[in-house]
Amino acid sequence: MKNRSGGIYPYLLVLPALLLILAVTLYPSIYSIYLSLTRIRGGVSEFVGLDNFNRILSSPSFYESLQVTLIFTFFYVLLTVTVAYGIALMLNSGLKLTGVYMTIIFLPWILSEITTGVVWRWMFYPKEGIIQNLIAPLFNNVALITRPAGALTIVIAATVWRSISFAMLLLLAGLQTIPHEINEAAEIDGADGLSLFRYITWPLMLPTTVVTAVFILIQGINGVGMILSITEGGPGRATEVLGIMMYRQAMQYFNFGFAAAISVILLIINLILAAFYLRALRRESVLAA
C-alpha cells in the first residue's frame, strides 16, 4: 500500500472520511434492502422474503406511479436538455453581460427545492394564483392545478425551470471546449449557422449531451421534493411518481417494508442509469483526450 510520496499515511488520513461516507450511504442502503424483506404486523417485524416485491409488482397503483414517473421523466429530460442547450448556445455566442445572465439563470438552482415548490403552488392557486389568474381565460376559467394533465404540466414546468441552469452549465462547458478554428474554417467554406450546428457543434457535443441527459434522467427518476411541495402527488394520483409513493408508504402509512421494496426497485433503476452515465463519461473523457 506504499506510494512514493507518503507510504500509508494518505490512506490513513482519508480513512475517517471514508468510514463516515460508508456509514451514511452503505449502511442505510443495506438496511433498506433488509427492511424490504420484512413486514411489521401488530408491532412485530417478520421476515417475509420477496413478498413485498410480489405485492408491488401485482399492485395496479405501482404501475400507475411508474407510468407517471416515465411520462414526467421523459418530458423533464427532453425540455431541460433542449432549453439548456439553447441557452448555452446563446451564451457561447459572445453576448455582452454573459456573467449577469448566468447569475440570473443560476438563481433557481441555488434556491431550496421545497421553497420554490411552495411558490409555484401559490402561483397556480385556484383563486388567488397570479399565473392562474393570467391564464384562466385560455382554459375556460378552470384551475390548472386541479386537473391531472394540468398538474403534471405544472410540476414538469417547475422542475425544468429549476434544473435548466445546471444542465446549461454542463453544456456550456462542453461548448467551450470546441476549438474556434473549426467553426472559422467552416464559415470560410460557406457554412451557415444551421450547418455549423448540424455538422460541427452537435456531433462534437454529443458525448457531453448524453452525459447531461443521463444526469438529468437520474434526477428525474428520483424527483420528490418539488412534486411533493407543489401537488403532493395529486390531484388523485396524477403526479404520484414512484418517489412519492415510497414516501407515502413509509411516512404516512408506516409500511416500511413495502416502502423499502420500492426504494430497492429505484436503486436498481438508478444503478443501471449510473452505469450508462459512467460509460458516457468515460467516452467523453476519451474523446476530450
Binding site: 468510514l19 463516515l20 411489521i40 384551475a143 386537473r147 395529486g234 390531484p235 411516512m251 404516512q252
Partner: protein, 452 residues
Amino acid sequence: MSQVKFLRWFVLVVLLSLLIAACQPQTVIQTVEVPKEVVKTVEVEKQVTKEVQVEVPAQPGNLRMWGFYDLTDTGDSRAVQMKQMIDAFQSTTGIKVEYEQVAWDQMATKVAVAAQAGGDLPDLIMVGAEYMQGLVNAGALLEISEPIKNSFFYADINPFEKQLNEKGGKRYGVGTFISGGQWYYDTEFFPNGMPSTEEGWLEACKTLAPQGKYVATFFAGRHPAAMAQGLAPLIWSLDSTLFTEKGEPNFATDAMVKALTFWRKLLADKCIPEISFTGDWSAAEGPFIEKTAGAVRGGTWSYIFIPGLQERYEGGTVKIGNPPALSGAKQGFVFMNADNWAITARAENVDNAVKFINFFFTPSILAPWASSNFGVPATVSALNNPMFADQFYKDSLDNLTRNGHPSETSPYYNESMDALSAKVQELMLNPNMDIMSEMTKLQNELINQYFK
C-alpha cells in the same frame, strides 16, 4: 522530514480522536431506583461509631413527553394551559417533565419512524385517535388497559370515549376530549333550518345555483380525514360501513355508489364548489366565510379554524344543522374523534406517565383543557363544569348525542382512507368513470396489499 512526519501523525491522531468522540453513545436518561432505607455509618463521638437507619425517599424520576403545542407561545391558550399543567404537575409530584413540541400532523410519523428505527422515543405522546391503529400496528404504543381501568376516572369516562378507544377489550390511549363533525349553516340562506336530506339539498340548489351561490361547502379532497368526516357519515346513513369487522376495506357497496353519485350531482349542478374536491381544508371553507355558501361542514373545533364563525354563532346568524342523509336513510350522522394521551412501547417511565394521565384527568384540569379546544371533556365530572353551560357546548353536545357516530377503525385505516380519498377525487374529476368497478379494483388492491 521528521517534523513533517510528526505533523502527519499529530493530524491523524486528532482526526481519529474526533471520530471516536463522535461515535460515543448518547447519554440515556434512566430512572434510578434508590432504596427507601439505607444504613448509614455516622460518627457521633470520636471513638464511638453508631449505625443509624435513615429513610431516604425514592427519587421521583423524569417524564419525557411530546406534545402539539409550543409552550413559549403565549398567544395560544392551549399552549399556555399545557405549560401551567406541566408546572403544576412538577411541583406537586417532584417529577421532572421534559417536553418537546411536535406538530400534530407529524407526531404519528415521528413516533412510528422512531419505533421502527430504534430511535429515541418519549414516554408519553399526544396523538389523534385516527392515528392510533396505525401506531399500534407499527408497534409504537404500549397497551394501557389495566392502568386506565384501575384509575380513579375510569368509571367517569363518557361512553363516546370508550367506543373510540376500547377495541376488543384493549386500550392503547385515553381520550381527553371528544370532538366531532358539525354542520354550520347561515340563517340568511336557510331561515327555516338547513336541509338534511338529499332531496332537500337538490331543491335548495335550484334556488341558490342561479344566483352563483352554493348550498354548502366542505373539504372532500385528498386526505384521509376528509373521507372520515365527509363520506363516512353518508355511508353510515344507509346502515353500511367503510370497513368490515376484520378491518378490511368495504368500499365496493351500493351505499358508496349512492353517496358518490350524490356528490357528482351536487358538483355538476354547482350546488357545491369544485374547490371542495380540489382545494385544501382552508380553501374549501372559503365560500362559507365569504357568504357564498349556505353551510359548511366543520367540527366542534371550528371556532379555532374558521374566521368569524364564533362571532356569527354568538350573534345568532349561524347555527348547527342536522347532517345530510342520503335518500332512503333514517338519519344523518357526524363522525366523532378524540385527542389522546398514549404511552409509547419503549417508555422508560411508565409509572410517571400514568401519574401524569391521572393528574390530567382531574376535573378542574380536564375541563379548561377541553374548553380551550372547544371539545367535550371525556369525563362526566369535567362536563359538569359551568364553562360548558355555554350555548355552543349545549348545541354541540346535543349534536354529538343525536348524530354522533364513532370513527371506524382498521389496522390499515390511514392507508385505506388515503387511497379512498385519491380514488374519490379521481371519480369526481372524471364523471364518466364507473364508481362500482373503480371501487372494486381499489378494494381488491388494498386487501391484497395489506390483508393477505
